[in-house]
Amino acid sequence: MSRWKIDRRKLVATLAGVAMTLVLCASSLVLAQEPQNEFKPMTEVPIETLPAMPLLYIAYAFVWVALLGYVFMLWQRVGRVERELAEVNEKLRSARR
């Protein structure tokens, strides 16, 4: 069982290492080149402000979801740790008797 645990750890750590390597490659190589210019067709001009709204909503929705999700996750973990701590302390007390 413990053998599988180490393999999974190595896999995740390897993937993280690969990801970091790719970011390093990209940032150094792409930085050496000039950024591209965007081509804006004429038809976009009169409705310029409208496409912004979905992006705005997505951005704020993400912030809310991320913050609430993190708070909820913390709450769960705190509850779990407190429960386990109570259990283990109970076992310790009964073992000492």
Binding site: K10, T14, A16, L24
Partner: protein, 226 residues
């Protein structure tokens, strides 16, 4: 100063060991050349390199071969368990760090002395345009990379998954070095060279080196004393 003398003794030990087998030197050099080759296939279009690819290829090659050298150098220490012996020796921890750093620097600079002309040759990059400035960029960049790398490689000697953790920790922190190195080198190699920009990037590299070598000297002792 006693610390510097101790550091020199440690570095000399590493260099003598390396000079006998030349294992690290040959493998790192060959790896660096292979890197350049692989990147060449990625960034050469219709027989000519994409503009500014030379600078990027040079620095990524330095980073990758540097990481390899770091890993191997400390693996050698780990196998013989000599790192613990070094730390138990009656020298300051800073001396151990400086000694390992010096040894690695000599190795990496030797490899770079060969790689830079190769890159110049293969990608028609004008390495002779501002040789002192280019040399200064390469040297300060290598010092910055090796300073952080030596620190982390020593730290990770006894950790799990150390082969993968070293690049994972080292690359993000070494990114300012890579950015400054690539931008500075690209400024020199560009069709219209901008030597003032290259000098500005050089000064940032010097600042980075000063900050991070100092930081490494401060933290090496507390981290290694477990």
């Amino acid at each position: 100063m006693r610390v510097l003398r101790a550091a020199w003794l440690i570095a000399r030990k590493d260099l003598v060991v390396e000079a006998r087998s030349r294992e690290l030197a040959y493998t790192t050099l060959f790896f660096a050349v292979s890197c350049v080759l692989v990147f060449a296939f990625a960034f050469v279009r219709e027989g000519r390199a994409i503009e500014d690819a030379a600078a990027g290829i040079l620095w990524v090659t330095l980073a990758f071969s540097g990481t390899l050298a770091l890993g191997r150098a400390f693996e050698r220490e780990r196998q013989a368990d000599t790192l613990r012996a070094l730390l138990l020796a009656p020298t300051e921890r800073a001396a151990v760090y400086l000694g390992k750093l010096l040894g690695l620097l000599v190795l990496m600079l030797a490899v770079e002395a060969i790689i830079v002309p190769i890159v110049g040759l293969l990608f028609a990059a004008p390495i002779g345009r501002a040789p002192l400035l280019l040399g200064a960029l390469v040297v300060t960049g290598t010092i910055g990379f090796a300073a952080v790398g030596t620190m982390f490689a020593a730290m990770l000697v006894r950790a799990h998954s150390r082969d993968v953790l070293l690049p994972m920790l080292l690359y993000p922190i070494a990114v300012p070095v890579i950015i400054a190195g690539v931008r500075g080198t690209a400024a020199i190699f560009a069709q219209e060279p901008n030597l003032e920009a290259a000098q500005a990037w050089l000064s940032m590299l010097v600042f980075f080196d000063a900050v991070f070598v100092t930081l490494a000297l401060w933290t090496f002792g507390p981290v290694m004393s477990e």
